[in-house]
């Protein structure tokens, strides 16, 4: 006891304290004895009577216990569980699990329950000496006497430090200030303000920028970075011949207005939005997910300002007179995983979705790892667990719905054919007498829903409605007369498919329902339908939100209301803020993070690494910016441009910094091995999707239609077995097979192999930065994947058809198509030698010629020579340079 009161965790009382430390020790040491004499009887039972006892003085008797045994975890430094016991107001308002001191009711006070060990497995303090029985008794008595905690000077002092607003010392939490442009020596190099900041740093390090890259490199770089496709030879030729001083800027304008721009930058956004075409977990299909992707592409092509882009995705449904497109945008939140595995607790997975929504907002807009505060206060950043659940609360009152979201041209034919569809549907259903079983089925399901003592089979069938049929339980509960036609159709469709939950397989087939299910699908395919989209609507009776103690939803703590972290700027409306207010708060010009985090990710796309290397973590544990003033300049520029994405992209690519050569420099090896000073550009391996796109573009196979549904390229046999429930996806036919990588079906548990081996994210959670790995599986993929081999064949045909000159001319053309440059003499010689060698091998293996290049595709050319071009083409498409942005 003596030791604990003078231990390191107890603070020496100030001069105002009436008891000296020494005296305090003696007093505490003598307490057990004192009390054991006076209250021996009561103490053993732990219930001293408050009436008969002398009054407990807080300062002399209670505070020493609290400071000796509690303040280490619940004091000014740490407030574990949100509890602070060194200050009156805080202590009496309790912690995350609620009040801990109930004046007058010691038995009900959690403080007593915890220090006395009454709650099994929970004895406080967690480490260090426990409270002695006498100390517990003293606390009990103090509480029973009313927990009187006088406002002394000591408490006042503690209060003043507590109440002071948390100082925003971390750089990213202070608002960006527009910096002055620095003075630089090499002014001739500067093309725009970006360069002055970069150059200032280079000059202070005593080095110089790299020369501008070759024009052929620049056009390929611009094409890949802005639209994600390599430049066609005609564009290359035109650019090289364009000697106007603003040829480069004209090219930028041209590319920014290309409809492929939206595709390139949509993919980047979809990483953040954890977009996929399946549910995750046991991974059923999401046939409407693409509609959100379609919106992203259109929004980026239309250069929707980033604040609007944000608001519509965060809360498009809450905008006054929300348009269909604005509601489609809110599908952003629907990209969370959905658990449909039967037997799961639906609430558990609803909570997981909301956690993911809160974490995603943190990562994408704030660049903060807010999710770390899900189970306890953030260990490094100024976000408490309570604040985390206040952010969570914004999303707790939503319902998931699908809406009709027709694309232009869909509505007319749909309306026209709708009566005929209903007629045919009725006709079909009438042929199946088993449909008469539906009312009885409905009744038994409802019975199972309301009582617990029925057959397990029906209970499970009712629960399955919840897992498998969104909104199904609500429809079932509606009186049939109140159901819309669509709801009626949905319910009977579900009945037809799900009746086998309650009868055995033989009976189900005998009733013909399996066949009817097929017929319904077939018939529906004959009629025009409206595209649908996934979105959110606010719940009519939103549940109250509680903090989850230790992050466990089954362990609710105090109630919390929607709100934002105190360390950041305040919300406009404090009363009952909605998602819409949260969205407006995110893109408020007072927000120090959103603009910085967004321009940093742009920088990452153009230079490989952001000015802050940890794009998803601007917190204390994240990297500090390499060029703080440049980051702030870009952030303020972004906001004052009206959040104009294209304008920012233009600014960056028109800078001299961006235009530098990427070649490694010996003189920089020691100074700046990671190229953070930006004395050169960085060579970047293309992303998974851009590798596919480049291969398809170079081989002229690319089907460049923009937007629309997902596609599934041919898959190797047996692959589908690796994931659960791959059924239901049909392989794309015709030209759809050759669409860009961002349209490839994103099946969470069975990702498309080419995308997976080249580091595409798995869409489990928001991805702010992709890895770039180099593996043997990538080599096998590029060498042997039939998709890529077909591209090599197509490229060979392209070279044969478009360049009728000699072998060397064709080689040069191939280099232009694939690398946007001329080969040097070593390269030409080596490829010519390979071409000869390949032709020789094929002549010796004549049977393989037709396999390498189907003969019907060849016109006039000698078959072995033609087929040798497939080899050359495959080599070009496998070159490290081909999959690299120089």
């Amino acid at each position: 006891m003596l030791t604990s009161s003078t231990g390191p965790e107890s603070r020496p009382p100030t001069q105002l304290t009436p008891v000296s430390p020494r005296k305090l020790g003696i007093l505490l040491a003598s307490l057990p004895l004192l009390f054991s004499i006076v209250f021996a009887q009561d103490l053993t039972q732990g219930t001293p009577s408050s009436q008969t006892s002398p009054r407990v003085d807080f300062e002399t008797s209670v505070r020493p216990i609290l400071s000796g045994k509690c303040h280490r975890c619940h004091g000014s430094e740490l407030q574990l569980g949100g509890l602070r016991l060194d200050q009156r107001k805080a202590a009496l308002s309790g912690g995350y699990s609620g009040l801990v001191i109930l004046p007058g009711e010691s038995a009900q006070s959690k403080l007593i329950q915890l220090v006395s060990g009454e709650i099994k497995g929970k004895l406080m303090p967690l480490d260090g000496p426990r409270l002695t029985p006498a100390e517990v008794a003293l606390l009990r008595l103090w509480i029973d006497q009313g927990a009187d905690w006088p406002e002394t000077a000591l408490s006042a002092e503690a209060a003043s430090t507590e109440e002071a607003p948390r100082r925003q010392t971390h750089w990213s939490l202070r608002p960006p200030e527009r910096p002055e442009l620095p003075h630089v020596m090499l002014r001739s190099w500067v093309r725009n303000p970006i360069d002055t900041f970069v150059l200032e740093r280079l000059e202070s390090e005593g080095t110089t920028p790299s020369p501008e890259a070759a024009r052929s490199t620049l056009i390929r770089r611009l094409y890949l970075d802005l639209i994600g496709l390599p430049p066609p030879p005609e564009a290359l030729e035109a650019f090289l011949a364009d000697h106007r001083p603003d040829a480069y800027e004209r090219l930028v304008t041209h590319l920014l207005s290309s409809s492929h721009y939206g595709e390139k930058w949509a993919r980047h956004w979809l990483d953040l939005a954890r977009y996929a075409d399946s549910d995750g977990y046991n991974d059923g299909p999401r046939p409407h997910a693409w509609r959100y992707r379609h919106w992203v592409i259109q929004a980026l092509n239309g250069n929707l300002p980033f604040d609007q882009f944000t608001i519509q995705q965060m809360a498009g449904d809450l905008l006054p007179d929300a348009t269909v497109e604005q509601r489609v945008a809110t599908g952003f939140h629907r990209n969370t995983l959905t658990q449909r595995e039967t037997g799961t607790d639906r609430e558990e997975f609803r909570v997981k979705q909301i956690v993911d929504r809160a974490n995603t907002v943190g990562a994408v807009w704030l660049g903060l790892t807010v999710g770390c505060a899900q189970c306890h206060d953030h260990k490094y950043d100024p976000i408490t667990q309570k604040e985390y659940y206040r952010l969570y609360a914004f999303f707790n009152g939503d319902k998931e719905v699908n809406i009709e979201a027709p694309l232009p041209g869909e509505m007319g034919p749909y309306l026209q054919q709708s009566p005929e569809y209903q007629r045919r549907r009725r006709e079909l259903l009438d042929q199946y007498p088993a449909l008469a079983l539906q009312p009885q089925w409905e009744a038994r399901l409802l019975e199972a829903a309301s009582t617990s003592e029925v057959d397990l089979i029906w209970t499970l069938a009712w629960r399955k409605v919840g897992w498998l049929f969104d909104g199904g339980q609500e429809i079932l509960r509606l009186d049939p007369s109140q159901r819309t036609q669509k709801q009626k159709d949905q319910l009977s469709d579900y009945f037809v498919g799900a009746y086998n939950h309650v009868v055995d397989k033989g009976k189900y087939e005998e009733l013909g329902l399996a066949k009817l299910k097929e017929e319904l699908v077939k018939m529906r395919a004959e009629f025009p339908s409206l595209s649908e989209a996934q979105t959110l609507i606010p719940h009519s009776h939103p549940p109250t939100t509680h903090l989850h103690l230790r992050g466990d939803f089954r362990n609710p703590g105090i109630e919390v209301r929607p709100g934002t972290p105190a360390v950041l700027h305040p919300l406009l409306s404090q009363t009952a803020p909605t998602r819409l207010e949260l969205a407006q708060w995110l893109v408020s010009k007072k927000n120090p993070l959103t603009a910085r985090v967004t321009v940093n990710r742009m920088w990452q796309e153009f230079f490989g690494t952001g000015l802050v290397g940890t794009a998803g973590d601007f917190g204390v544990r994240g990297e500090r910016p390499s060029h703080p003033k440049l980051l702030d300049w870009l952030a303020t520029e972004f906001m004052s441009s009206g959040w104009n994405l294209k304008q920012m992209h233009r600014l960056i690519v028109e800078s001299a910094t961006y235009r530098q050569a990427s070649k490694l420099r010996l003189d920089l090896q020691e100074l700046d091995p990671a190229n953070r000073l930006l004395a050169r550009q960085t060579r970047l391996r293309l992303s998974a999707e851009l590798i596919r796109d480049s291969v398809l573009a170079a081989s002229n196979l690319l089907y460049p239609v923009v937007g629309g549904k997902s596609i599934l390229p041919p898959l190797p046999k047996g692959l589908a077995d690796l994931g659960h429930r791959f059924q239901g996806w049909e392989k794309s036919q015709g030209k759809d097979r050759y669409r860009r990588g961002l349209y490839v079906l994103a099946k969470r548990t069975a990702p498309y192999p080419q995308l997976m081996v080249f580091d595409a994210p798995d869409a489990q959670e928001s991805c702010t930065r992709r890895e770039r790995s180099t593996t043997a599986l990538q080599a096998l993929n590029l060498l042997n994947d039939p998709v890529f081999f077909e591209a090599a064949q197509a490229l060979a045909i392209r070279l044969l058809q478009e360049e009728s000159g000699d072998v060397q001319k064709r080689l040069e053309y191939g280099f232009q198509v694939c690398l946007a440059r001329e080969p040097n003499s070593t390269e030409t010689d080596r490829l010519l030698r390979y071409y000869e060698q390949q032709r020789e091998i094929l002549r010796q293996e004549p049977a393989s010629i037709a396999k390498v290049l189907p003969l019907e595709l060849i016109d006039k050319t000698d078959p072995a020579s033609a087929a040798a071009w497939v080899g050359v083409s495959s080599v070009l498409l496998n070159l490290e340079e081909f999959i690299t942005r120089e």
Binding site: G280, Y281, N282, Q339, E341, T342, G343, D345, A363, L460, D504, D617, G622, S662, K663, L664, Q669, P673, A674, N675, R683, R685, P716, K717, G718, D721, L722, G723, H724, R725, F726, R748, T749, P751, P753, M756, V757, Q764, S773, T774, T775, A776, L777, Q778, A779, L783, N784, P786, T826, R830, Y834, Q838, S848, K851, V852, S874, V875, E880, E881, E886
Partner: protein, 492 residues
């Protein structure tokens, strides 16, 4: 090598992997100037190669792992943990005191008790009990350490399987095999360090059970498939002979080297090396898969040519695939593959338990025992850790969720107490660890959480589960999250 040195190397590797250029480039640049490309480049590339073998934190008792993952959750009541008491209570619900907080996936806590219909006998010198469905595995009793006190916090398949294979119920975390190859690299220069073999039905967790998560994709599990190319895109396109492929790779190497000389980016050298490894894999993998190299008696030991049992055939399952996979697992370990994940699915016997359990055991019992015997006779069991188990167990109560004729009874998911066994690689065989209550509902002694299992597996490999970390989104992640204790009781 001490921990500090290990960390330095990790950092250096990390650096080289991520940065085009990097410190290694400076060194390389000088070397190139002095000696040209040959020789030293290989050394430098070995450092860049994320799978280059690395020393453990402390001396290991196991070098390799064969993880026999019985996805779907086999019934411990019917295989490993006999509960004769259940017969007394057959047909009765559990007392309300035991079901107060019981939460189950499908059945109600009041479902009636259903005693196992299996016969149990004692085997080996240790007298370990096994059910009559596992006559072969039973004969390895003295090599097996049976844990009857496993538990997990997940009672659904997808999160449960992820918890079991990746240490967290969420997808997107690295699998055990990824962590281990990240920690130790791989001895094999021609094969992936982490290989996945599957038989039976598709699993709930799919590729997430062998995902590299946030680790670099070099540590991804590589599935070897039963049909088509064993590794995706392993064989040359049609019409491309080996000669032709070699010529293609030679010209690629020369052109990439030409580029390397000009641009000087180590990433190009790394790409060249990846193509060479791919080429070696193209010949090593088919050699590995060629089971005709194995003598007949070995093939028979595993039962690779056994006739499919009729129930499995009806379910369109390749009933000898697990046997083939076990034999392949041994061949992989021999060739230096670090971690082989052999999944057999599905043991999810909600219905028709007796019929389905028999079928699964017929497919897996003999090959499992053969693997242990074969590893042992070759001296490989000493440093190969073998783990057999599913994501949770099954209830001692009955589930009646299927309409139909015959015995359709099954058991529901049971995360509170289940059985798993381990052998080899520093595990003390011939012992039973843990004990459940007389109904098999709860653990009475030596509770072992999945995190503890993972900590122990890493320990056998010489890895400290608290030190094997990876920084991602501002946090140092571990296979064992913030939990896990090495269970020394299991070890020799």
């Amino acid at each position: 090598m001490n921990l500090q040195e290990f960390k330095q190397i990790q950092t250096r590797r990390h650096f080289l992997e991520r940065c085009a250029g990097g410190l290694g480039m400076a060194a390389l640049w000088n070397l190139l100037a002095q000696e040209g490309l040959a020789g030293r480049l290989q050394t430098e590339l070995a450092q860049v190669n994320p799978l280059h073998p690395r020393a453990p934190h402390f001396p290991a008792t196991a070098k390799n792992v064969i993880f026999l993952f019985m996805a779907g959750a086999p019934s411990q009541v019917d295989l490993f943990d006999p509960k004769p008491e259940l017969k007394k209570w057959e047909g009765l619900p559990l007392p309300p005191s035991m079901t107060k907080d019981l939460k189950l996936a499908f059945i109600k806590p009041t479902a009636e008790i259903w005693a196992s219909q299996r016969e149990f006998r004692r085997y080996g010198e240790c007298g370990m009990e096994f059910s009559d469905l596992l006559p072969h595995t039973a004969k390895c009793a003295d090599d097996i350490c049976m844990i009857r006190s496993m538990y997990t916090d997940q009672f659904n398949h997808h999160p449960g399987q992820l918890m079991f294979s990746c240490g967290a119920p969420l997808a997107g975390r690295p699998a055990m095999g990824s962590w281990i190859t990240y920690g130790l690299g791989s001895e094999s220069q021609n094969l992936p360090g982490f290989v996945v073999l599957s038989s039976g039905d598709p699993t709930h967790s799919g590729s997430k059970a062998w995902s590299n998560g946030f680790l670099p994709s070099s540590y991804q599990g590589v599935p070897f498939r039963s049909g088509g190319d064993p590794v995706l895109y392993l064989s040359n396109p049609e019409g491309i002979s080996e000669n032709s492929q070699r010529a293609r790779l030679d010209v690629l190497r020369d052109l990439n080297q030409e580029r390397f000389a000009d641009a000087g980016d180590i990433e190009i050298a790394s790409r060249i090396a990846s193509y060479e490894l791919a080429f070696r894999m193209q010949s090593a993998a088919p050699e590995l898969l060629d089971l005709s190299q194995e003598p007949q008696e070995i093939q028979n030991l595993y039962g690779v040519n056994n006739q499919p049992d009729s129930y499995a055939t009806a379910r369109k399952t390749n009933s000898n695939q697990f046997a083939i996979n076990c034999l392949l697992a041994r061949r992989m370990v021999e060739r230096g593959v670090r971690f082989v994940q052999v999944t057999h699915s599905s043991w999810d016997d909600h219905t028709e338990l007796n019929k389905r359990l028999k079928s699964n055991c017929e497919m897996t019992d003999q090959p499992t025992a053969a693997l242990l015997k074969d590893l042992k006779q070759r001296g490989l069991l000493e440093d190969t850790l073998v783990i057999w188990g599913g994501e949770f167990g099954r209830t001692p109560m009955v589930e009646r969720s299927k309409v139909g004729a015959g015995d359709t009874r099954g058991r529901d998911h049971h995360p509170f107490a289940f059985t798993l066994w381990m052998a080899g690689g520093g595990i003390r065989g011939g012992q039973i660890v843990g004990q459940t209550d007389e109904l098999g509902l709860n653990i009475q002694k030596d509770k072992i959480h999945v995190h503890d299992l993972h900590a122990t597996i890493l320990h056998c490999l010489g890895l400290d589960h608290e030190q094997l970390t990876y920084r991602y989104q501002g946090r140092d992640f571990r296979l064992t999250d913030v939990a896990g204790k090495v269970v020394h009781q299991l070890l020799v």
